[in-house]
Symmetry: D3
Subunit: 139 residues, 6 copies
């Protein structure tokens, strides 16, 4: 059984490498390399996997899951600059892929402490683009 | 190949255990334990799995699938009280997880009779919360 | 300039008249007259009208508007039984139309206290049915 | 007859006044005053009003309308910093209300040149917040 | 008070004039002039206006409204070729504007027979394009 | 890591077999067998699978993926008649299942040339019906 909680955050970011020239950044990352930043309304879907607890009928208590996601992820990302202000993104390219991996790493332990297993992190950057990460053991 | 049909139902429910005190019900189930009921517009996605029939180009005839879902599930749940009126939920906690398992059990045989295999039951309780069940053999 | 805030509530209700027989309730209100209740995820759109304050660039502070909607409407309706538990719906048929009028009456004064004017109350009962109320002066 | 074209842009912004202290900016504009920027996926709905041309069956040619919106609005806003980079927002607070008014001013003449009349500019900042502007003559 | 019912239909159409050359059709109507047809999932919103009946709490019985829309509109358009098969579109360009006007003419009388007044017909051709018609008296 | 790009196309089609009588076509394919065609707004989700390139933070460059989808799929399907005009659908029943398989075959090689692996093709025919194809090796 999978159970999913959707949360949202709005943030600014920029895709670029310091070791690239401006032209190369523009060529590789396109409009996303704008030095003055741009931003998105990100939709985050956290899916956990587990058995149904016969006493509660729940795989996981969604209020507790939502609380964990807010504490470890949303309050660090929401209305922030992902490149400059988010501790778990320091030194990483602010691509949606890397945000998904970093959110997985933020949530893996806290979800385990609720006796469930993280299954996937899905992030919509726009309605047309999204990534889904299943952790390392999937490979 | 997977093929999915979406149907909808509106129903009342309450999450609680008779063997819990009111305080414990409130602590475990929160606002969902309201003794006067509350309700939802549930979205149900039924996914079946199979090969494409070369004569029709279909995995399954969606009209027949929709008919089966309506007969075995929707007409029993729609505009009903899940705790009091739904035969296949008697004696069970009315959590979204348990509703998904019960719908799987309702549909497994009828889908097989259409020469296809049930793959998953996905239910949205709200736009932010949903569960997906893949049957027992998945574990 | 109109500005709109969307909020949500989940509630149970029943459409019926005590002075109707069961048959007449069923005939007039259909499945919505189920004595055991059913429920919905209601989407509420509150639109206010006003001039842009040149100092803030706002018609109204959306956080304050959201706070007022939660205080006067959402916490009274969310996870409740509209017929039995909502003070401002006592003695009224729990139709979406009547809920919209009652929410207008709840919000008209509080919105005015924020120096703006309530323009409309829009409620989606399902994705296929919604009402919009503009107050009495509209007629 | 009204006809509407939806376009999208992603941008960074910040709400603040230079003549406010940091505390006052935070109090008035909340998280939106973050000095390191944040951003959104904005949805823009441009509605024009007119009679149906009996020769084409169109109020306005939507391809031409879309082209005008892209030229005068989207390419100036998309993947930009609204405070720093958008000519028609210079010297203005980057609130959704002010963006709507500025887009109206950008489009009023070009729409007229297509023999139609601008009716409204509607902008969603998030799925829960949107504004709609009808021009000055509406007041 | 406005109340709206959403219905859907899928249909093929083509935009062209017999008195235009193929080049002119292509220039004016673009890809929509394809002689082999193309099609859409149309979303139709029918809004009626009226007072709330104090006995029922309804402006109009939505089941009766839905039945009328299906009888006079949907069953004539759904899974049809708008240019070739729809009686009320004969001799007209199959633009969304003209479909909206024709649907208004189909529904005006039947809605009146339910003691309500048609307020608007809104049609989405795609998620990015829609029209809204308010009848002749609006002008 | 999975990454998905959504594209859209509008097309006409008809489900029927030449070797069936009209009655049998109507019985098997229902309204979809209308000889005068009907059509849909199809939503296409192309999901690719791969490792994150540490230099770019990308599994695949989404602009290049979008370009490939447009070149090999969208421009062949959009505003076309699937039965008559689409080379890769010739001689096949125009069911959503068969369209998904044919799109997979169109994209498998081009995606590989971008150093990624096609994972699934998902197509929504309407909001209630969709198919997902994972390629032959999945079986």
């Amino acid at each position: 059984m999978h159970i999913t909680r959707k949360e949202r955050f709005n943030a600014a970011h920029r895709l670029y490498r310091k070791d690239y020239t401006d032209e190369k950044n523009l060529k590789v990352f396109g409009k996303c390399s704008n030095p003055n930043w741009h931003g998105h309304n990100y939709d985050l879907y956290v899916t956990v996997k587990g058995k149904v607890n016969p006493e509660t009928g729940f795989v996981i208590n969604l209020k507790q899951l939502s609380k964990i996601i807010k504490e470890f992820v949303i309050q660090k990302l929401d209305h922030k600059n992902i490149n400059l202000e988010v501790d778990f993104m320091q030194g990483k390219l602010a691509s949606t892929e890397n945000i998904a991996i970093a959110i997985w790493e933020q949530l893996e332990e806290p979800v385990r402490s609720l006796h469930a297993e993280l299954f996937s992190i899905k992030i919509y950057e726009t309605e047309n683009n999204f990534v889904e990460y299943f952790g390392e053991q999937y490979i």
